[in-house]
């Protein structure tokens, strides 16, 4: 109940972030239900489709965790500490509020699914997707509910795991692993060629590798920015990036992986097809994944900004002009784009070469 009260009383921006989580959860839930409907109609080949649906599930959970981290109800606060709500209790509050948002999304997805199949009547677009969603075949209720529960449960578990008190890792440690996994993924894709089972495996390896390498890439960006006799701006921009690399790096790596996937798809279409038939929801699902990955990175940036408010206040006490701080933030963003852009482009080029040779 406390979680509900805290949810109800928070500011509009916070509510908006929770609504975005609910929207992402609704999108993922709808994709899962669509895959289920397809599987009841055409059981052959439905397992790979279900596996692909795990990608939106993963990015939705990641986004939910990022939002839970920025949630004022789950951050160390004097008011909550004073009433005895310590770190463990706060993890529970975070998990519950994440579960609430995701369950709302799942319910919306179910309602939209049933409505488009024509099973809920009385609204516009009633049964508009009957053919697409195989309205002629009944969907097993238990399977639908299980799939819908997947989003809240995974987001809830991920939140509880991510917010439990644990020491941070140094950002550079995972960089070699990330590079090695990315290279392995590219090699698998090149070896297996187009159309085989090697493609998803290789792509998954590349994605995991990029997300592991993210913190190291962000740290290296920071080191580059503050190298060689920095002034105040480069010093503030670079060191902050180095300091925040563990937090910004992971979502940055995921966004890189998603971007590389999207670029690969564009390149493959230019070179004559994917080798596998695309479904009608592939485009919307890809858009959902890209938006979730981008929103996660932005939310982590908001969290970093919230955590650095003390530093910000110290700089303002020194009389640091707002322009210096804003330019430092722009410099950080530019450095990240300048380094990650070529990485994403290179990985996409190599992948599309491997898949069309």
């Amino acid at each position: 109940m406390l979680a509900l009260r805290l949810v109800r009383g928070s500011r509009p921006v916070v509510q908006l972030r929770r609504l975005l989580v609910a929207a992402a959860s609704a999108g993922t839930g709808f994709v899962l239900l669509y895959v289920l409907a397809g599987a009841t109609a055409r059981p052959a080949g439905s397992f790979p489709r279900l596996l692909w649906a795990l990608v939106p599930l993963a990015v939705t959970a990641q986004f939910a965790v990022a939002v839970a981290r920025t949630d004022p109800a789950t951050r160390p606060r004097e008011g909550l500490d004073a009433v005895g709500l310590g770190p463990v209790q706060r993890v529970l509050v975070a998990a519950v509020s994440t579960a609430i948002a995701c369950t709302l999304g799942s319910a919306l997805a179910l309602a939209a699914f049933l409505h488009l199949r024509g099973e809920l009547t009385g609204l516009p677009f009633d049964g508009a997707g009957a053919g697409l969603l195989h309205a002629d075949r009944p969907v097993p209720v238990a399977a639908a509910l299980t799939l819908l529960a997947l989003v809240p449960l995974s987001a809830c578990a991920a939140t509880a795991l991510a917010l439990r008190p644990h020491p941070p890792l140094a950002p550079q440690t995972a960089l070699p692993w990330g590079i090695a996994l990315t290279a392995c993924g590219l090699a698998v894709e090149a070896y297996a060629g187009p159309g085989g089972a090697g493609m998803p495996v290789g792509w998954a390896l590349t994605a995991v590798g990029l997300s592991l390498a993210g913190p190291g890439i962000a740290y290296a960006c920071g080191a580059l920015v503050q190298a060689v006799r920095p002034g105040a701006m480069r010093l503030l921009a670079g060191r902050t990036l180095q300091e925040e690399a563990p937090r910004l790096g992971r979502p940055l790596g995921v966004l890189c992986a998603v971007g590389a996937g999207a670029l690969t798809a564009v390149a493959l279409r230019g070179r004559g097809g994917f080798g596998v038939p695309l479904g009608p929801l592939t485009g919307p699902a890809c858009a959902l994944v890209v938006l979730c990955a981008a929103a996660t990175l932005l939310t982590r940036a908001v969290e970093v900004r919230q955590d650095r408010s003390a530093t910000h206040a110290a700089l303002r006490d020194l009389g640091a002009p707002g322009a210096v701080l804003r330019t430092a933030a722009t410099l950080r963003a530019t450095a990240l784009v300048a380094v990650c852009g070529p990485v994403v482009w290179g990985v996409a080029q190599l992948t599309s070469l491997a898949l069309t040779r």
């Binding site: 060191r239 110290a314 020194l318 640091a320 002009p321």
Partner: protein, 260 residues
């Protein structure tokens, strides 16, 4: 030529406030405080917690704009300045050291100390030289290449002191800089601050406790409940004194009527 008003400050006042009023979202912080700070002196603002020391320092240093009253620095009105001009004034002429060192954890010690110079656009080399010189003067030169996380509180507070002094500002505002320290460290920090300020002709406004202020300051101004203590005390005795009935409601009486 316009004759100066009767309560015009003496010519050697570098910074002065006249009947400054400030309230924190309704609750009164400062109620008509006037104070003048002479060039090169160490002025101690004393008083208990909540008496308005920090608010007065933040008004005088241009962090806050008083709701009524005036703040003048070197015959320039601070209370009418825009936010940008006050920011520039703080950057160029004032130094600040608070109860927390407020060091940036990702910068090395010397970079923290050199930050005011770097922000004003000084070159890397000259900023480093000046910062290291001040760190040496304050006996913490050995830590210059460490991160603030590796320092004790007393050392961090000295780095904050070096950062406040590195530009040799006109006025240093010290808001209870000894609050997190033990007695021996307190005395040392205050002695360091006042010695460095006197030898460089820097004016110091020090918000602190009574005995410490008396030990190092040239002059003391005591605050109580947002007023100069003399006014606050005389008001209280007028109300409570001599046992006679009073028309005014004494402060704090409302709380006493509660039967908890």
């Amino acid at each position: 030529m316009v004759a100066p008003p009767d309560n015009a400050p003496p010519d050697n006042d570098v910074l002065w406030a006249r009947s400054v009023h400030y309230s924190h979202s309704g609750s009164p912080g400062l109620i008509g405080v006037s104070v003048g700070v002479r060039q090169g002196e160490v002025l101690a603002l004393t008083g208990p917690r909540g008496s308005g020391k920090t608010t007065l320092l933040r008004c005088l240093s241009g962090h806050l704009v008083p709701e009524q009253g005036e703040i003048w620095f070197n015959s320039v009105p601070v209370h009418t300045m825009g936010a940008l001009a006050r920011e520039r004034l703080r950057r160029d002429r004032f130094g600040w050291i608070g109860p927390d060192p407020q060091l940036l954890p990702e910068l090395k010690v010397w970079e923290n100390a050199a930050l005011p110079l770097l922000i004003s656009g000084a070159s890397h080399r000259s900023a480093k030289a000046a910062a290291c010189e001040w760190l040496d003067r304050l006996d913490i030169g050995a830590f210059a290449r460490k991160r603030p996380g590796a320092l004790t509180r007393a050392e961090s507070q000295r780095v904050a002191l070096a950062r406040a002094l590195v530009k040799e500002p006109a006025v240093v505002f010290a808001d209870e800089p000894t609050a997190p320290l033990h007695r021996a460290e307190r005395a040392l920090l205050l002695r360091t601050l006042t010695t460095a300020a006197r030898s460089h002709g820097i004016t110091v406004l020090l918000a602190t406790h009574e005995e410490e202020g008396a030990a190092v300051a040239d002059r003391r101004v005591e605050l109580l409940d947002g007023r100069p203590a003399a006014a606050a005390v005389s008001g209280a005795t007028a109300v409570n004194g001599a046992g006679g009935p009073s028309d005014e409601t004494p402060e704090g009486q409302a709380a006493c009527s509660l039967s908890a």
